[in-house]
């Protein structure tokens, strides 16, 4: 048999992959500290008096990408505040979409997961199977259902048309239920003998033990909805109500490159905070999930 790959070789591959994983983030964050003039001279695609000295081909100016700006400045961030407040509006839109969805999911999912695990009903596994199928479908396959429901409730021109279906999205129920399967049944039986009812068991025994999973769910669902694009491009008609994620692809076509870096950096911060808060529990929280 072949010998095991050497420690150094494996380490080198892993470190290399890790660098690739952080490179885009580092690139954006470090370039956000660049002055507007430097960003323009490095990244503008047309040949202008500023870019003429760089590498050019006809009217095309090639980028001079760097990780470390010549001059470090916070002016990009200042420009967002002073000259381009629409981005802040988009950021706010993202926030009021994401927070209710995450909070709602964290309330609804554990309750339903516990019920699925403990209920003795004939067709519950079939119902759960329907949850799984729904979970796997792309949002676009659910457009008509969501639209019909929104129409019925009179919320078509409202964020609620996006928020409400997302709160009930079955992924959370699936994740938590799979985790609950490894939960010690004897503890629950003991509590029952002590006279605790199901609600008490849920709130004081099961829920506290779900902390890693709940944290993982929070991180995953926040990173998902903070990045919400699909629903927005279908349901939101006016640009000013769009979340930030949808606007960043359009942003780079017009002018102010340094503000693109700055707003992208600002956009990462909430996701990073949630991640850093939850990263300890993340691996454990999804870790014992398996498909059985």
């Amino acid at each position: 048999m072949k010998k095991r790959l050497s420690y150094r070789f494996r380490l080198a591959i892993v470190v290399f992959s890790a660098i690739i994983c952080v490179l885009p983030v580092l690139f954006i964050v470090l370039n956000s500290l660049m002055s507007a003039d430097e960003a323009a001279s490095r990244y503008t695609s047309r040949v202008t008096p500023v870019t003429a000295l760089g590498l050019t081909d006809g009217n095309l100016h090639y980028v001079e990408a760097t990780l470390i700006p010549d001059l470090l400045t916070l002016s990009g961030f200042r420009d967002i505040l002073m000259h381009d407040p629409t981005n802040l509006r988009f950021l706010w839109n993202s926030l009021i979409l994401a927070v209710p969805i995450v909070v709602g999911t964290l309330i609804i999912s554990p309750m339903a997961a516990y019920a699925f695990e403990r209920l003795r009903a004939k067709h519950k596994e079939k119902l759960f199977f329907a949850y799984i199928i729904t979970m796997m479908l792309p949002m676009q396959a659910l457009l008509v259902p969501h639209f019909i429901a929104a129409n019925f409730l009179g919320i078509t021109d409202n964020y609620l048309a996006i928020i409400l279906p997302a709160i009930f999205a079955p992924f959370g129920v699936f994740l938590i239920r799979q985790q609950m399967k490894s939960f010690d049944k004897a503890t629950i039986e003991a509590a029952k003998i002590d006279g605790a009812n199901e609600l008490q068991i849920f709130t004081s025994i099961v829920l506290p033990n779900l902390k890693p999973t709940m944290t993982a769910l929070m991180v995953l669902s926040f990173s998902e909805v903070w990045n919400l694009v699909d629903q927005a491009v279908v349901f939101i008609r006016e640009v000013r109500f769009m979340p930030l994620a949808t606007q960043l692809s359009i942003a780079y076509s017009d002018g102010m490159i340094s503000t693109v870096f700055a707003i992208s950096t600002v956009f990462m911060i909430p996701a990073l905070i949630v991640f850093i808060y939850g990263q300890d529990n993340l691996a454990e929280g999804v870790g014992y999930t398996s498909f059985r």
Binding site: S45, A112, V229, L248, A271, F275
Partner: protein, 286 residues
């Protein structure tokens, strides 16, 4: 007495399910039924059997979308799983395994929108790759409006999703009782046999979870395509999601419902297959 108490307990449990079930009914299940109705009727509400299905199946846009979506899933899912598995194997036994696991999650956690400008700088007409090609006297390409758009999408997808699979695999490795390897070794098992009889059996549930998650995530690729290429991407990245969005914008609920019904059916068959397959495979070894 006992049954009465049980009945009460079951009622309380049911109470916990109701919010979720009500939401699923209102936003998913019941409207899905009316979507099913749309699939089999014309816009006057007359029952038309499979006319809508034939209409969709013969449309060039739908075929292109299905072809691209299938091509994307069939390549991205296995590549992603294999790469994540190999990388997880490499991480296993490294000193700072935990730190690496956290770093590999970063692409998933960072919103795609926030780093889309990085990809732009890399692949743009005046981007880093073209610059290098130009400097060395090669022909440059407008990557975003060439068939390469498909592969750029693939790269961005794998970059984003490999970390989550890796963390799942790492957690799965921990569930394997190490004694089993020792027992296998004592019985003279080679590397392959150890893999087949210990690793494979214990990693199967994890791998299936990874498979399910990878398929779910591969459906979310619309977001990356939109961010990279905007509303009108290259035809090689025209996915079922685009097709369905366009039907929605054109208010063609029949076509949209038909595609949704067919997609749901495909997913149903797939998940059922995975379920049955798991039970069969684990039954053999248990």
């Amino acid at each position: 007495m006992r049954t009465l108490k049980n009945f009460k307990a079951q009622k309380l449990i049911l109470l916990l399910l109701i919010p979720s079930l009500a939401g699923m009914m209102v936003f998913y299940f019941i409207p899905a039924l009316s979507s099913l109705f749309n699939a089999f009727t014309n816009h006057h509400g007359d029952f038309v059997w499979f006319t809508n299905f034939i209409d969709v199946l013969t449309s060039g846009a739908f075929r292109l979308a299905t072809q691209n979506t299938l091509r994307f899933i069939l390549i991205s899912v296995p590549v992603n799983i294999v790469l994540a598995y190999v990388l997880a194997g490499f991480c296993q036994g490294l000193k700072h395994k935990k730190i690496f696991a956290v770093i590999f999650m970063i692409p998933l956690i960072i919103p795609s929108g926030a780093i889309v400008y990085f990809w732009h700088i890399l692949f743009a007409e005046n981007g880093i790759i073209n610059r290098i090609l130009f400097q060395h006297g090669f022909d440059t390409t407008i990557w975003f409006s060439s068939p390469a758009a498909f592969w750029i999408t693939m790269l961005v997808f794998i970059f984003k999703n490999i970390g989550f699979n890796l963390v799942l695999f790492l957690a799965g490795f921990q569930l394997i009782p190490t004694e089993y390897y020792e027992v296998a070794e004592i019985n003279g098992a080679g590397t392959f046999q150890k893999f087949r009889h210990v690793t494979f059996v214990y990693m199967l549930p994890t791998t299936l979870l990874v498979l399910i998650m990878s398929i779910i995530n591969s459906f979310k690729i619309f977001r990356e395509i939109y961010l990279l290429f905007g509303r009108y991407p290259h035809p090689s990245t025209y996915m079922l999601q685009h097709f369905m969005n366009n039907q929605f914008a054109a208010a063609n609920l029949q076509r949209l419902s038909v595609s949704a019904v067919m997609l749901s059916l495909a997913v149903f068959v797939l998940v059922l297959g995975v379920f049955k397959g798991t039970h069969k495979l684990t039954d053999i070894y248990d």
